[in-house]
């Protein structure tokens, strides 16, 4: 791990917002137990904790979505009782959501002032004022779009800027960011950082929730940690390191473990030869052996997921071929791919991997119903056996198989998706961003699981945008840039710089010159 690029001294000022002794109970569970938290003007205060530790609940209490059972919220000198998010916003506390809530068919200006458009007499919209106010906000954001651009035509990063613009419309004193970089690529992040820094300079207090250590060390002044609804402490970013924070979060420390990588490889299982899909990716070749983990590293948009989808039969290649276990295969659809032993754990768990309204067992057996049914009739007992097997093997935490998958944490959801695929008995397992949005503890569990799977003979292809993940898992690394494979590395002997060059196209230029 790289040392933090920049450590900031804590801001010396009286807190603008204080939470004291917040306790929030839901039936049967104490989500927050006597938690203290404060934000100073002009600082970034990072809030960390595993999924389910109570971060989101705390922030919802702060933003008026939930009401605390006990404890005080003090804004400035005044004790507040926020009844709803609107009330909190008016008082100057704004939460920027993880999931974006914008209207794609409307312009940037309309979105920023959605619900509070400036009015003229007779309830007409004051378009001129709307334009001026929006331009003022866009100036602070310094981003490359105009007030009349349609939000639907903007990139995800820019949409997020619009979301932040919406918060700024309330001239906030405290802005809460909940996993703001979850959907951003590495080169989009600095734009967000700049905005956060400029908000700080204006004296706004920032609460920053994220799973990503590098971001937190880069941005924050102080770090507070929650564990199981309890407040475990606050430290100055300049005086701490990742190990200490990790220990605070999970009570133990994590290390990148090269030695535990699989090392016994068999024959070629997957061979991709000059595969192309017009205007998406071109001339992609690589191979994966039995028992081997191959990492595919690149920026979002480099064509990695599309390569996986093509191997899985969801896209028709315009050229090249896929060889699986020595045979050239041409899948017409995903059904063929599953039948031939290919499994794809998709990038977006909630949209592509799971049926959130279904229970755990049904999600687990979804891809392999023939194995738990006879003559078209489901066999409940067999289903339970399958479910229990993976439930135990992967230590999935759920009260019962009847629990709806939508109520599980990200890590447990991902384990169900992986379990679903393992039961199809695949030869090739493709994992697309397997730990996106998953807390540190579950992340390492999933990493261990992936390594164990490879050791037991699966050929594994891991697509990831996270360098530590790619380095920690892969025997070999394939770098992609702009729809092409730019380099292939040995996973144990590659420097971070080499990788970065390969995925940003710099390596290619170097070769050309």
């Amino acid at each position: 791990m790289k040392a933090p690029t920049q450590s900031r001294r804590p801001v010396d000022a009286a807190p603008i917002l204080k939470l004291q002794g917040i306790t929030k109970r839901f039936p049967g569970v104490v989500a927050l137990n006597n938690v203290d938290f404060d934000v100073r003007p002009g600082e970034v205060h990072a809030l960390l904790g595993e999924n389910g530790a109570g971060k989101s609940t705390l922030m919802k209490v702060l933003a008026g979505k939930h009401q605390a059972n006990e404890g005080k919220i003090i804004l400035g000198d005044e004790e507040m009782a926020f009844e709803n998010p609107k009330h909190a916003k008016r008082a100057g506390v704004v939460l920027i959501h993880q999931e974006q809530s914008l209207v794609p068919e409307m312009t940037v200006a309309e979105n920023i002032f959605l619900g509070s458009l400036p009015r003229k007499p007779f309830n007409r919209v004051d378009w001129r004022k709307l334009r001026e106010d929006t331009n003022k906000i866009l100036e602070t954001l310094k981003c490359g779009f105009k007030h009349d651009d349609l939000v639907g035509s903007l990139s995800i990063a820019k949409k997020q800027m619009v979301e932040i613009g919406r918060a700024l419309a309330f001239t906030p004193q405290v802005v809460i960011f909940d996993e703001p970089t979850a959907s951003l690529t590495d080169h989009e992040k600095p734009v967000l950082y700049d905005v956060i820094n400029s908000l700080c300079e204006q004296g706004v207090g920032i609460v920053y929730i994220s799973h990503r250590m590098d971001e937190i060390f880069h941005l924050s002044h102080r770090i507070s940690v929650l564990r199981d609804g309890q407040y475990t402490g606050t430290v100055n970013t300049a005086d701490t390191n990742e190990d200490e924070i990790t220990r605070m979060m999970i009570g133990r420390s994590l290390e990148l473990d090269h030695a535990s990588k699989p090392n016994d490889f068999g024959d070629n299982l997957l061979e991709v030869r000059n595969l192309s899909v017009k205007r998406v990716f071109e001339d992609v070749s690589f191979n994966v052996r039995k028992g081997e983990i191959v990492g595919m590293y690149g920026l979002v948009g480099a064509g990695r997921s599309e390569v996986a989808e093509t191997i899985f039969g969801l896209r028709t290649p315009s050229g090249g071929e896929v060889v699986l276990d020595g045979e050239v295969v041409k899948f017409r659809n995903s059904h063929d791919a599953v039948a031939s032993g290919v499994a794809l754990v998709p990038e977006d768990r909630k949209d592509q991997g799971l049926i959130l309204g279904m229970n755990c067992r049904d999600n687990m057996t979804m891809a392999s119903l023939t194995s738990v049914s006879s003559m078209g009739f489901m066999q409940g007992a067999k289903e339970r056996v399958v479910y229990d097997k993976y439930h135990q093997a992967m230590k999935i935490k759920t009260p019962s198989w009847r629990q709806k998958v939508g109520n599980l944490s990200g890590g447990n959801q991902q384990k169900i998706v992986i379990g679903k695929w393992l039961h199809t008995h695949p030869k090739l397992l493709i994992l697309d961003e397997p730990t996106r949005g998953i807390d540190v503890g579950s992340k390492s569990e999933i990493h261990t699981l992936v390594k164990d799977l490879a050791k037991s003979g699966y050929a594994v292809l891991v697509i990831s945008s996270e360098m530590p993940e790619v380095l920690g898992l892969s025997n070999r690394i394939i770098a992609m840039y702009d729809g092409r494979v730019t380099a292939e590395f040995d996973g144990d002997n590659v420097s971070e710089d080499e990788l970065v060059q390969a995925i940003t196209g710099m390596g290619k230029q170097a070769q050309a010159s």
Binding site: H335, N359, L369, T398, P399
Partner: protein, 319 residues
């Protein structure tokens, strides 16, 4: 199928509609002395069997995330075929009627599957087109059954149970098992719940959609044959607005328009609610127009209650 409890639990919660059905059942028992007689109760079952049969198929289509507006027209066409062709051969007439339903359902399904056009639009077109075909075929004439065995069948009973009621209840049982116990049923839920995840899991989306459209087409045609046998006749306007009654019953029964959840037991409740209300208010001599008003109010109220009761609550424990 180890226990009664396990059998009925299926995948759905107790639908609020059943509380309502029990409430109005008790209410009308007190309000009318005729209501609680065996004759009247079987009568309700016979009266609701037409809408009920179609609602069984519609439940699957709607859980699958689609809708079929052409069922009323299919019912009309099947009824006219069953009555109009019986001069040639009774078997041929019924086979043609049921075959038409299956074929039209398959066409609906195929278009939705292959073109990806919204099922609402496809079946709206089918509704208009099939009704048009029906007028072409019948030349705007009503047909009367010439075969007495056919018109007797609709009125016949086995012991104390009318045959139509038996057919309906057997179909309820079969469809309940199809939905809760077969892999087709499971995939129907999956596809409606999240089509993308279903594709990713290698489920053949189109195939399941098509099967469900065929099922609802078949049930619409079956309902048409049974209805015409009950009346001993078929008119070209038969089945008008039935799609709305069917959808009302299914929605009352707790099936979501967005797909992914619902149950046959709930649909049975929805069908009975409509049947009992119509029958009971009729016995109380409430004019028919008021029945419509009451049904409209009830449809909306039940959905409001359902929304209040079954909120995806923050109370559910996250682990």
């Amino acid at each position: 199928m180890t226990s009664i409890k396990g059998f009925f639990r299926g995948r759905a919660k107790i639908q609020p509609i059943w509380i309502f059905v029990i409430a109005i059942f008790i209410f009308f028992s007190f309000m009318s002395e005729y209501f609680l007689s065996w004759g009247n109760i079987t009568n309700i079952l016979v009266q609701t069997s037409t809408i009920g049969l179609i609602a069984l198929g519609m439940t699957l289509v709607m859980i699958n995330g689609n809708i079929d507006l052409s069922v009323g027209a299919i019912l009309g066409l099947a009824a006219s075929l069953a009555v109009g062709l019986q001069e040639i051969s009774m078997t041929l007439a019924i086979a043609a009627a049921l075959g038409a339903g299956i074929l039209l359902g398959a066409i609906n399904g195929l278009i939705v599957w292959k073109t990806g056009v919204n099922a609402f639009i496809v079946t709206l077109g089918a509704m208009l087109g099939i009704r048009g075909l029906l007028f072409v075929y019948t030349d705007e004439q009503s047909f009367y059954a010439s075969n007495f065995a056919f018109s007797d069948f609709g009125m016949s009973s086995i012991g104390p149970m009318p045959v139509l009621a038996i057919i309906f209840l057997v179909c309820v049982l079969i469809m309940h098992l199809v939905l809760t116990r077969t892999s087709h049923g499971r995939n129907t839920f999956a596809v409606g719940g999240n089509p993308e995840a279903s594709i990713d899991a290698g489920i053949r989306l189109g195939r399941h959609m098509m099967i469900n459209f065929i099922i609802v087409g078949f049930f619409a045609a079956l309902a048409g044959v049974l209805l015409s046998s009950q009346m001993g006749a078929a008119t070209p306007n038969l089945g008008r607005d039935y799609e709305l009654w069917v959808i009302t019953a299914v929605v009352l029964g707790g099936t979501k328009l967005t797909g992914g959840s619902g149950s046959i037991i709930g649909t049975l409740g929805g069908v009975l609610a409509i049947g009992i209300l119509r029958n009971g208010m009729n016995l109380m001599q409430v004019p028919a127009f008021y029945v419509l008003v009451v049904l409209g109010v009830i449809l909306i109220s039940v959905l409001i209650i359902d929304k209040k009761v079954n909120v995806p609550s923050s109370k559910e424990v996250r682990i």
